[in-house]
Amino acid sequence: MTRSGAWAAAEHAARASRARLVALLASNSGDLALAEDAVGAAFEQALVVWPERGVPANPDGWLLTVARNRQRDVWKSAAHRTAAPLEQVPDNVGSVATLDEVDPDAIPDRRLALLFVCAHPAIAESARTPLMLQAVLGFDAAQVASVFAVSSSAMAGRLVRAKRRIRDARIPFVVPDRTVMPERLPAVLEAVYGCFTIARGPGVTPMASESLYLATVLAESVDEPEAWGLASLIALSLSRAGATGADFVPLDEQDPASWDAELAERGERMLRRASAGGRIGRFQLEAAMQAVHAARRHTGVTDWPALDTLSRALVHTAPTLGSRVARAAIADRVDGPEAGLDVLDAVARDHPAATSYQPFHAVRADLLARAGRTADARAAFDRAAELATDDAVRAWLRNRSP
């Protein structure tokens, strides 16, 4: 294992361990913010104590005990200052007994329940993905704020409100049963997908790879076709993340040898697992499109007619701005640039948001150039470059402009 690989593995282990401890403490108390503080303090203490006395035989058990004590201290001090008679006294003191019964050698994994709490229908949609990034993946409010392009204080406020709501409205830490699962799973998948898309840039970011881990945990636990579809979609997309380094390289021009073959195969296996469920959905269709691209590493060519079929099905299932813009690029490959431009004209009519959607202008610029409409193409490339958030993409667009 390389040095950076070892570092990434250690970081992943720490995130996984942190999430398990936070989920366990919070599921007993209902207080996510307190659980995060307690676990954070336990990790800080470990950084002081472990180098001196050595890593304990059961690191998670050690961390759990320290975090649990920390939580208890907070409850005790809260019980002492019952100044305001109308203020709600936390009633979670009773759950200390439950926690004491937890065998540190067999820490139950409540991360899945925590995922469902983060994407609970009573939590504002705009807070769900940030909450997952923070509570489950351990990114701090400032990091989460930067990927959402909002100020740290605004993001911190959003997260605090969501956690207060979880505690005070008492959102239970449970995995929904089969009867409620169909209505609750889509929001969880959506939020995990959000974790992935916002982190998707050139190269493999920690957030992007952690979102694959989340999606995989979720798929293994709920064993639903769309959950496997999402995990597959993330694995297949990430398998190509290494192909663009400092310079942006569009998918068509990437050398398949630069892709991560192992990750692509993993994605393909997960897609087969998804299709075995016999219920098609948006994420499986997107994963299947990624699989068509990934297949170029064996065949050397891209099967555009297959992509055409899949993208039509995707637009039918999920007529989002993103899926329709992607459809335009494929229509171009199958029926020529004018066909693609027709699709985009329809998109612009239906989605006012298209005017500020970067991929819309990037695809349109490319199609206009192919159609020989140089002046229009140039304007579209300018607009796409203007809207690009990534420097490498912006440079590529400026370079490509006719």
Binding site: L86, Q88, D91, P121, A122, D168, R170, P172
Partner: protein, 125 residues
Amino acid sequence: MRYTILMHYSEETGESIGEETIAAGREAFAAYTAALEQAGVLIGAEVLAPSELTTTLRMVDGELRVQDGPFADTKEQLGGTVVIDVPDLDAAIEWARQAPPIHWGAVEVRPGATHTVEGVWTPNR
């Protein structure tokens, strides 16, 4: 944990929607509260008289203003409340979704903060 289910809907009468519809609504309410009672979660329920009968009081510059009509003059009015005691929000939502006005209005479910027990304020838990 106590939750109050607040039911908001536009106010209708037998004249506007028909006596049968009103009777059916009344039956649905009877079945609903019977189910709540049976499950042992019902603290109390009340359906309010139409807002045209309500009177709103305010102190303006230290002076009492009494006005006919509701606090907020909106099309949908608070029409009734049901107080339940259940373990968590999921259980409360499960009961709230069965409230009959879900078919003709909006149903809000809100945790209580504190309530009186024999006249003494007691925190909700």
